[in-house]
């Protein structure tokens, strides 16, 4: 059976072609409204992938992925309000999060905190940010010309423009294409990391940190590296989210935000990269469907799904379906079985 996350080039190629195809074809065939919805789903898929890097690939249990997503959004919002141009703010959204993760990760991993404590610290971090962001309604809290505006959030934030052409704001359709391309890029980044030599070291650290140490690998540093990359991607997703929404409020730091990301990942399948993408799209669509003329509370559905999947389908939809197909294939197809003793 193939090792999880190992690059299977055919699958990677198929997924890439699918995403790219969607970016090119859908604007020609779908309505603006559907495109706008797909844009935000794709943003969330990028966010799901960021946790895939941190948790799925790196085994770092981050309960506060929303912290980096939200900070990315705020960084972009503050920077673009001040600069009036989006190129540098996008870079900042990524870099600042990498830096924040570096500091936080240094503190956690060099202190050799166990998984559970990493979970607590990241959770605390997002709660602190949530509380802090909520308490900035005093006009005193402003960075340059951007007021943070507390609980109400920052409204009317400039979208992304063509690099260095402040006048050329992206249209919603162009934003859709950009977001899909970003999703493709992040997906390929994940695949590249997983397939690289360092990616193998990361996988080794996740599976058995003691053995990795005994091979001479500095597991703290490996975890730190993967944490920084995952957080930077989450920051990038935050910036794309603000581009879509034109708005950012402390909600982005909320517990339910972090919970959502984990639910997408678990339902889709945390051992793969396509799984979280599928999970993000499917569950987002489900939640927005529930809001139109339904009496069922979205929390009941999300919470129920999470419990069912953790207990009954712990690997998530995609790996389960894939393995099911593979075993069917072994049973009926010409492929030879391989049992090892």
């Amino acid at each position: 059976m193939p090792q999880t996350f190992a690059p299977r080039h055919a699958g990677t190629l198929a997924t890439s072609v699918l995403i790219l195809g969607a970016a090119v074809v859908l604007p020609q065939t779908l309505g603006l409204f559907t495109l706008l919805q797909l844009t935000v789903y794709a943003v969330m898929a990028i966010l799901a992938l960021s946790l895939s890097i941190t948790w799925g690939l790196g085994g770092v249990l981050c309960f506060g992925q929303a912290a980096f997503f939200g900070l990315g959004g705020y960084t972009y919002a503050v920077a673009v309000t001040n600069f009036g141009e989006s190129t540098l703010p996008i870079l900042l959204a990524v870099l600042v999060q990498a830096l924040v993760a570096l500091c936080l990760g240094w503190f956690m991993f060099m202190g050799r905190l166990s998984d559970l404590y990493v979970g607590v610290v990241t959770l605390c971090t997002s709660l602190i940010l949530f509380n802090f962001a909520n308490s900035t309604s005093d006009p005193w809290y402003r960075i340059g010309s951007a007021a943070l505006n507390g609980f109400n959030g920052m409204p009317a934030i400039r979208g992304i423009n063509i690099p260095f052409l402040p006048g050329a704001l992206l249209s919603p359709v162009q934003s859709f294409v950009l977001t899909m391309l970003a999703l493709l890029a992040v997906y390929l980044l994940c695949k590249t990391i997983a397939g690289s030599s360092w990616g193998r070291v990361v996988a080794a650290t996740r599976q058995n940190p003691l053995r990795a140490e005994l091979m001479g690998y500095d597991t703290a540093r490996v975890k730190l590296g993967i944490f920084v990359i995952g957080s930077a991607v989450a920051g990038f997703a935050g910036c794309l989210f603000v581009n879509w929404n034109g708005f950012v409020s402390p909600d982005v730091f909320g517990l339910s935000m972090s919970a959502q990301i984990m639910i997408w990942m678990i339902v889709g399948g945390r051992e793969t990269f396509v799984g979280p993408i599928v999970g993000a799209f499917a569950l987002q669509a489900l939640v927005s469907r529930l809001g139109v003329g339904s009496e069922i509370n979205a929390n009941v559905v999300l919470g129920g799904l999470l419990m069912i999947f953790v207990v009954l389908v712990p690997r998530g939809i995609l790996p389960t379906v894939r393995d099911g197909l593979l075993s069917l294939g072994r049973k009926w197809g010409p492929g030879k079985t391989r049992e090892v003793n």
Binding site: P27, Q28, T29, L30, G31, L32, F33, T34, L36, Q37, V40, N131, N134, S135, S137, D138, P139, N149, G150, F151, N152, G153, P155, A156, S171, P172, V173, Q174, W244, N245, G246, F247, S249, D251, V287, S288, L290, G291, V292, G293, S294, E295, N297, A298, N299
Partner: protein, 422 residues
């Protein structure tokens, strides 16, 4: 929760053919959203109003009664001949107290369902999410709840109370009644901060003094330290803009500390979340609130309305407060403008509104102010007595002076900002 047998229609997967049509249209010119409003895409058999309200999640205590109020207005409008011969159709979206869904549904209402009016948004955050989207896709927006004031946007009409209305006369009145020294507390966000600022401004004009000004995040439930601080400061009254379920803790702990009978409370917000019904009388007795509507207002129009409301939704229908009744008032004010204009077309309705559309309902008369797109209205002073409101004073025709003077949409139709406090 509500079962409606009228034109109210929850939006499922209908409208497919129109979506296809839109797709075709888009295939030709995708990057210009304005094209979407081309008249061919517009269904002409009914006038459509979208309700974007939190019907689940933390804010549904506001959203659900507000939807009932809207439904009542829609039913009455249809019963009186609809809008210029067409029925008014209400399309409901449950935003689930989730800002992302506000954006998604605003896009859906404007682009896919192509409504004539989007009515809703409860918090200021939700309004600020919706407003730019509806501006971009040229869909008229009506915001009908109490809020912090200052929105200046030609595409948006606000019919709720703003802080200046509830402070300008009520604060001096209270100072006369109880004394000059007041301690301000509030939820930590814009609206309560602005309320606090106005209370200082108008309080000082009346010779009062705001001795402190403390704000609390919405999830704070423990107020022991605050109560001690207030006891130290010994003000003549407490001026509260606390909001939400967690903050009920303050009133409970205040009463438990024996303070309710010692230092009286003036509140901008008590009652907007039906606090008077959630707390037992011994914890709320004597709290006073200036606000645009109480179910207890003693007028023929209101008595009639309340009885119709209960006839429609039953005896245990939720209390309609100044927030939720906005759904009724706002819908009617807009419908009046549509009738005056003879069409639901956006430009015509804006012009009709700016011509000073006025409508009288259970909470008195609302008149649209042309320059700032806010309505002036009556303010009632209520005292919490035995878990119900006892209106004891009325100020008529209070002006939205938060926004007035700074915002002139007649002179500058392109103006689109939200002014902060002064």
């Amino acid at each position: 929760m509500t079962d409606t047998n009228t034109t109210t229609k929850a939006r499922g997967s209908t409208g497919l053919s129109r979506r296809r049509f839109t797709s075709l249209l888009l295939a030709s010119g995708v990057s210009a959203p304005a094209i979407l409003r081309a008249s061919g895409a517009r269904a002409t058999d009914s006038v459509k109003m979208a309700a974007l309200l939190d019907l689940s999640g933390g804010l549904d205590i506001y959203g659900r009664p507000m939807l009932m109020a809207m439904e009542m207005a829609v039913e009455e409008i249809n019963a009186t001949g609809g809008l210029n011969g067409k029925p008014l159709e209400l399309i409901t979206y449950d935003t689930q107290s989730n800002m992302q869904l506000y954006a998604q549904y605003a896009q859906q209402a404007a682009l896919q369902d192509q409504v004539d009016l989007v009515h809703g948004g409860i918090t200021s955050s939700s309004r600020e999410v919706i407003r730019p989207i509806l501006n971009r896709y040229n869909t008229l927006y009506l915001y009908s709840t109490q809020y912090e004031g200052g929105v200046c946007d030609r595409n948006t009409f606000c019919t709720g109370t703003t802080p200046a209305m509830t402070s300008k006369s009520p604060i001096p009145y209270t100072i006369d009644m109880w004394g000059p020294k007041f301690y301000s507390i509030g939820a930590d966000y814009n609206a309560p901060r602005i309320m606090s600022d106005w209370s200082r401004t108008f309080g000082e004009q009346a010779g009062g003094e705001q001795v402190a000004n403390d704000f609390f995040p919405l999830n704070v439930t423990e107020f022991g330290a605050l109560i001690t601080k207030i006891q130290q400061a010994r003000p003549d009254f407490v001026c509260s803009a606390l909001i939400g379920a967690a903050h009920l803790g303050f009133y409970r702990q205040w009463a438990a500390a024996g303070m309710l009978s010692e230092i009286p409370i003036f509140s901008f917000t008590f009652g907007s979340g039906n606090e008077h019904m959630m707390l037992p009388p011994e914890e709320s007795e004597g709290i006073i609130t200036p606000c645009s509507y109480f179910q207890e207002i003693d007028s023929a129009l209101n008595r009639d309305w309340v009885s119709r409301y209960h006839a429609r939704y039953g005896d245990d229908a939720p209390y309609q407060n100044n927030v939720s009744i906005g759904g009724y008032e706002g819908t009617w004010l807009w419908a009046t403008a549509v009738r005056n204009a003879g069409t639901a077309e956006r430009e015509a309705v804006i012009e009709a509104m700016e011509a000073g559309t006025s409508w009288t309902g259970p909470g008195g008369t609302l008149t649209m102010n042309a320059a700032n797109h806010h309505s002036s209205r009556d303010i009632f002073f209520g005292r919490c007595t035995g878990g119900a409101w006892e209106p004891f004073h009325t100020w008529e025709n209070q002006q939205p002076s938060d926004t007035d003077g700074r915002c002139d949409l007649i002179a500058n139709p392109g103006q689109n900002v939200q002014f902060g406090a002064e």
